[in-house]
């Protein structure tokens, strides 16, 4: 197969999105907040619409701020419902995201004639358009694919956030009480993480769609977690898996002529279920071999 620059761009962008999502997902999973990630990815919809209405464009800072704010509001709301209203946590999550998502769809339908935003693009995203969606400066200079830059910035921010607050995240994830006793703001860490999740969702939804963000957030960490318990290794494996998923996903979509994001989720699912079966059947030989590979990775 000859080198195809478009394929390379798509795989590169996909990998960066998968890495940002996956690294955040590791902490979401360990904090038993996997479904909160799902909830946020649905709930940011009204924020996106409002930001779109304000700025009139599908990209830019307004979008990130709008969706980020709604994402954090959703988190506050979930916590409020489960702590103050005393609703069980799964129901709090369910009610919050469905009502926010419904508001978002209603807004889109009302504004259908005024804005170039339809329901489909929120759910699916289309990473295949990355190479033709170019960033053109005011002077008319073509700088290359816009979404690739976006996902690069996103990945840099996520990795920066994790690196900067690694100790805080680690302590507050594994021992909340201890974190509180040493004066760490667990609430602050929590909202910081949720803010990053919202931002990543928005920044990625254009490329992979709202629900597939969840696939990239939860499935690679869940799969990696079955191979290792070490936090560093968990993050490493998640990153590797993100790259592999994006590579194989692209070619699966290419051969099936289908959505690339969907294919990435499918590949992730294949790894996930293969791992579960291998772990479950307790095939001693294969298991040991793969575990040693996991150790080395």
């Amino acid at each position: 197969m000859s080198f195809d620059p478009n394929a390379f761009l798509i795989i590169l962008t996909g990998s960066m999105i998968a890495i940002s999502c996956g690294v955040l997902g590791v902490f979401l999973m360990l904090r038993k907040m996997a479904m909160t990630g799902d909830a946020i990815s649905h709930a940011v919809l009204p924020g996106i619409v409002i930001a779109f209405l304000v700025s009139g464009s599908r990209h830019g800072l307004t979008m990130v701020i709008g969706a980020g704010l709604v994402g954090i509001i959703a988190t506050v709301f979930i916590e409020y419902l489960s702590n103050k209203v005393k609703l069980q946590s799964d129901a709090s999550i369910g009610i919050t995201f469905t009502s926010l998502f419904a508001i978002g769809i209603i807004m889109i339908t009302f504004l259908a004639n005024e804005i170039d935003l339809d329901q489909d693009c929120v759910l699916y995203g289309e990473i295949a358009y990355v190479p033709i969606d170019l960033w053109i400066t005011g002077a008319g200079k073509i700088m290359g694919p816009r979404v690739t830059y976006l996902s690069l910035v996103n990945m840099a921010l996520v990795i920066g956030f994790i690196a900067l607050f690694f100790k805080e995240l680690k302590i507050s994830t594994f021992d909340k009480e201890f974190a509180a006793t040493i004066g760490l703001s667990t609430v602050g860490v929590n909202y910081g993480l949720m803010g990053m999740v919202s931002y990543t969702t928005v920044s990625s939804f254009e490329a992979v769609g709202a629900i597939l963000v969840v696939a990239l957030m939860v499935v690679p960490p869940a799969t990696a977690y079955l191979w290792t318990k070490n936090l560093y290794r968990l993050i490493q494996l998640t990153i590797i898996m993100g790259i592999v998923i994006s590579f194989l996903g692209y070619y699966l979509a290419y051969f099936l002529n289908s959505s690339i994001a969907g294919a990435m989720a499918t590949v992730a699912g294949f790894f996930f279920f293969t791992t579960v079966i291998l772990k479950h059947k307790q095939l001693p030989g294969i298991r040991k071999k793969i575990e040693t590979i996991g150790q080395k990775a």
Binding site: G94, T109, A222
Partner: protein, 430 residues
């Protein structure tokens, strides 16, 4: 207004059919949802509704049409597969259930999207309207579809009513159900099938993403009005019928408006109203109760302060002295003094506040409870006299007359508390 009358008089057989359909499916979803809510499996419904997508696409691929029998069967197969997968992976691995649910949900949805984009590229014109399954539009349901969905919804309702007792036991006391010989595993299988069926029935009208709300929200709202299962089912059903009809009406009036979001909006509104204004557990009810209790405590403390002044031989206290007793609460203190005055406990004579006859009696009662409890703590619990004040400070507000009599009797009608203060008694009592 004309539209309103046209819609609600149901002259149009189409409107009647759509409303009947949506009411049936709301009722079945609310009933199933009540049990899943109590079983703490609310989000499994969300997973099923996403997992239905590949099944729907598969049905399209195999049949090449929008035949409802195929769609229902396809959706049922992958929906059921997802619940089975969730249970299996949760049991087989160390992953937490929410991680498993989120993984299964997104993987199934991803596979569904792959299939859907392939279908869209196949260019089959009869496949248009596939996106109704994602956002839902009740108005798009006609004729044959309605019979299938209506029949399914009715079947779900009947089965739940028939196995009401069994499901109740399964949700509330699984081990007991097991021990009296109920086939819990088979019941669970039946119930999971009902849950999948309820989701399948709703997808075309409500949409994949929002179907979860129809399962979760009515039950969560109903829980705030009652603790009885039968009543909870009834309330959940009423809530979802109301929102189903209102949602259908709005999407009838506003063209191109999908039904699902409006049904969910009305449902959420009802739920939030329940959270705040429910007479049992609502936020507002709790807040009022808490505020009243705090006011009562504050009132009791003012009476006690005046009583203490009386014991020291003073006639009363000035406003300033009372305020000084409760730093930072001057507004509330002012309010409490006014209220106590109105109730006839205090008399305010040129800002010298003193207890009336009635006030002395009431204040004496509080002080008596305080001192009786202090004595009880030292005598019966062997707690040092200098450690009993805090506990008595709390309990003086809540000891009932019955408890008071019991304490008095057990302590053999004492005259003094551990600090050698006289325990005040009403004259007719002593």
């Amino acid at each position: 207004m004309e539209e309103f009358i046209y819609f609600f008089s149901f002259q149009d057989p189409n409107v009647l059919m759509v409303v009947t359909g949506i009411v049936l499916l709301s009722v079945s979803a609310a009933m199933v949802g009540t049990f899943t809510f109590l079983d703490k499996k609310a989000l499994v419904g969300d997973a099923i509704s996403h997992a239905v997508l590949p099944g729907v696409c598969l049905a399209f691929m195999l049949s090449g049409s929008k035949n409802p029998y195929w769609i229902v069967s396809g959706a049922f197969v992958t929906g059921a597969l997802s619940t089975y997968t969730i249970t299996w992976v949760s049991n087989a691995t160390k992953l937490k259930e929410d991680t498993v649910i989120a993984s299964v949900l997104s993987i199934f949805f991803g596979v569904g999207i792959v299939m859907m984009t392939q279908l869209q590229q196949s260019g089959n014109a009869s496949l248009s309207g596939l996106d109704h399954f994602i956002f839902g539009n009740a108005i798009s349901i006609v004729g044959q579809d309605l019979w299938v969905y209506g029949f399914l919804a009715l079947a779900i309702i009947m089965v739940i009513l028939f196995f009401y007792k069994e499901f109740q036991l399964m949700v509330f006391n699984r081990s007991f159900a097991d021990s009296i010989g109920l086939p819990v595993k088979r019941l669970e299988f039946l119930f999971n099938s009902l849950m999948v069926m309820a989701v399948v029935t709703g997808i075309q009208a409500i949409g994949v993403v929002l179907m979860a709300a129809l399962l979760i929200t009515p039950a969560a709202a109903a829980k705030f009005w009652t603790n009885r299962l039968s009543l909870m089912l009834l309330i959940a059903v009423i809530f979802s019928v109301i929102s189903g009809i209102v949602g259908a009406y709005i999407s009838f009036v506003l063209p191109h408006m999908p039904t699902g979001p409006w049904v969910v909006m009305v449902l959420s509104l009802i739920a939030f109203l329940s959270f705040f204004f429910s007479t049992k557990k609502g936020i507002l009810t709790k807040w009022i109760a808490k505020r009243n209790y705090q006011r009562k405590i504050h009132r009791d403390h003012i009476l006690k302060a005046l009583f203490a002044a009386n014991e020291q031989g003073k006639d009363g206290l000035s406003c300033g002295e009372i305020y000084a007793n409760f730093p930072g609460k001057s507004f509330r203190t002012q309010y409490a003094i006014k209220k106590l005055g109105n109730e006839g406990y205090l008399s305010d004579n040129q800002s010298n506040i003193s207890l009336t006859e009635k006030g002395i009696k009431e204040a004496g009662r509080i002080v008596r409870l305080h001192r009786l409890w202090e004595l009880y703590m030292t005598e019966y619990m062997n707690i040092a006299p200098d450690h009993v004040h805090d506990s008595a400070e709390k309990l003086e507000h809540i000891i009932t007359p019955e408890l008071e009599r019991q304490l008095d009797k057990n302590l053999n009608y004492p005259q003094e508390d551990p600090h050698q203060s006289i325990i005040p008694r009403d004259k007719d009592q002593s």
